[in-house]
Amino acid sequence: MRVGTNAYLLLSALLFTIGVVGVLIRRNAIVVFMCIELMLNAVNLSFLAFGRAAGSLDGQILAFFVMVVAAAEVVVGLGILVAIFRKRSSTSVDDVDLLKG
């Protein structure tokens, strides 16, 4: 049976939403990063789906770009995270509240 493009898009949207919700709700910084990765991958999926649907390789090229950027971003992000959380022992995002009015 042929699975339509829509299914892929639906899955992508679903994954993206789960990622967003995770970013907003989870307090553990590493889990937040994982959710961000989830969002990126969801977008990758939708790129591939559209590429296949358009019959070109553009989608796959873009997915490569995204993966590279994601990797770089993770490196930087985890670096910052480690630096911050070396100071304090907690990994909760809520503890970074110096701008609280």
């Binding site: 967003v20 970013v23 907003l24 709700i25 307090r27 995002v93 809520d94 970074v96 509240d97 110096l98 701008l99 609280k100 009015g101």
Partner: protein, 655 residues
Amino acid sequence: MLLGRRLGRAAGWLATALVAASFVVAVAAFFTLLGGAADARTVVLRGYEWFSAGDLRVAFDLRFDQLSAVMAMVVTGVSALIHLYSIGYMAGDERIATFFAYLNLFVAAMLTLVLAQNFLVMFLGWEGVGVCSYLLIGFWFNRRLPVVQPGARLDPDTPDETQEVWAPPAAKKAFLANRIGDVGFLIAMFLIFQQLGSLDFDDVLGRAERGVFVAGGVARVGAVTIPGLGAGAATAVALLLFLACAGKSAQLPLYVWLPDAMAGPTPVSALIHAATMVTAGVYLVARTHVLFEASKTAAAVVVVVGALTALLAALIAIGQDDLKKILAYSTVSQLGYMFVGVGLGPVGYAAGLFHLVTHAFFKAQLFLGAGSVMHANDGDTDVKHFGGLRQAMPLTWWTTVAAWLAIIGFPLTAGFYSKDQVLAAAFSHGGVGLFAWVVGLLTAGLTAFYMSRLVFLTFLGEPRWPEGRHPHESPAVMTVPLLVLGALALVAGVLLTGGGLVGGPLARFLEPVLVGALPAPLEAESFAQAFLLSVLATLVAAAGLAVAWWLYLSGRVDWLEQRRRRAGAWRALASGLYVDRAYELVTVRLDGAVARMADLFDRRVVDGAVDGLADAVGAAARRGRGLQTGLVRTYAVGVLGGAVLIVAFLVVRAT
């Protein structure tokens, strides 16, 4: 004031010499006037220009005519005597030089007032005497002065009704009451300038003489007209000027400052509040008489107010125990007579001014005599503590007798002539004059009563003064003026009227100045009528004297007991018929209430609004702060929300 501290007592002699010199000059000038023809006796001196603004040009112009001459001679003459007296009275006071400086300043201001040729220079003098009055009343500002005051505790059984009074409040009261009147003067000047374009007497007052008037003097508003000044404006100006007179010359309703002004040294009371400053109002009306002729209403107001004031003050005087206060109310009362005189029109001008002159003599004598009595009694002013002083102070006694006879109108004294002339003028004027005549007659009786009471209680009867007091006669420096004034009180009448009951040299001298535009006779109707009226007045005065004798001297009535029995009435009279209380209610209380309301409003409403606004902003901010959680998650939600909105917007727009 410059050399004062070094001159000390000599300052007094210097000041007196200067004023005496002024008097000599005044008399000399007077004789110069006499040399000229009867209707050409005006000298106008144009002085330096004071200021000029737009159409208004005011200079220090002086005018010397018959009216000014009379006033100047009275002012400088009586003043010189009072200066002499003060040398003795104020001896030992450390600020004596300042006192004489103020006195001389006062005389200078008063002379400016009577010698002015335009309203503004006159106002300069007017204000000047007001300021000097304030300075002099408050002269002993650092002393407690025992004055017999009616107060809430007014009970004849209380051994001592003396309360202590500070001078400064009295001085302020005097100045404020004057000021209220000055507002009238100012507005009148504004009106005059607005209507007539000038403040010079020749321009303003001379015009009426060229006005149109109805022959026969029919009493009709506008019978005299001043070109450029409508009947309504003339009334307004005249009434405003009279308001100024009410303030300066202590008439209803602004007389309340005069009794309180007795807190000042007695020579001050004699000079300012008997002989000169308070007569400035009478002079003003006389000088501007054409305005009062142009407005029958204003003239009637002057007569009625004068008559009522005379009566009211005489009533209050009956209830006073303080020597100076009796004299103060007496002054208010006699001033009422003067205003009746000058308010009656041509028939009364000379009479009113004549009374001014004689009153200056006998009232000054009475005040100086009172000072002599106080001097001998350690400054006590309560007549209940006197009695039998005539043996101790014969000179004071006899001179006071002279003045007393004059003020009650004993035949042939100066006061007799002047008072009877006023009453005769009132009677023959008819209309409102008749009312004034009745009131004046009644007041004459009351005057005789309270003045006799004063004399009896102070000089006759049994001594009532406390132990340890040795009343003695005053030094020559004080008794000489008493003698001069006493003599004048007796003979001035005969001299100035030539012995007759109507007219006389004074009236004839003043006639060219005081003839109004109304062709009315300057004197009362006939000798017979005047004689009958005089007899009537004398009888009324004799009745007053008799009652006083019976109550206070005959020993048949315990007047203290009577006073206790009629405590209510006594309290009313003694407190000046509660007029001061009424004023206090209106000004102090009402004002205080208004001020408190304003404060409440300011604090609650205005401050409330401002503070409330600030608080509201603060509350809003406080709630808004909640947004700044500092949590990254919250901000992420915000970003998400914003992104959703934008995408939705774009999608909706594309479809």
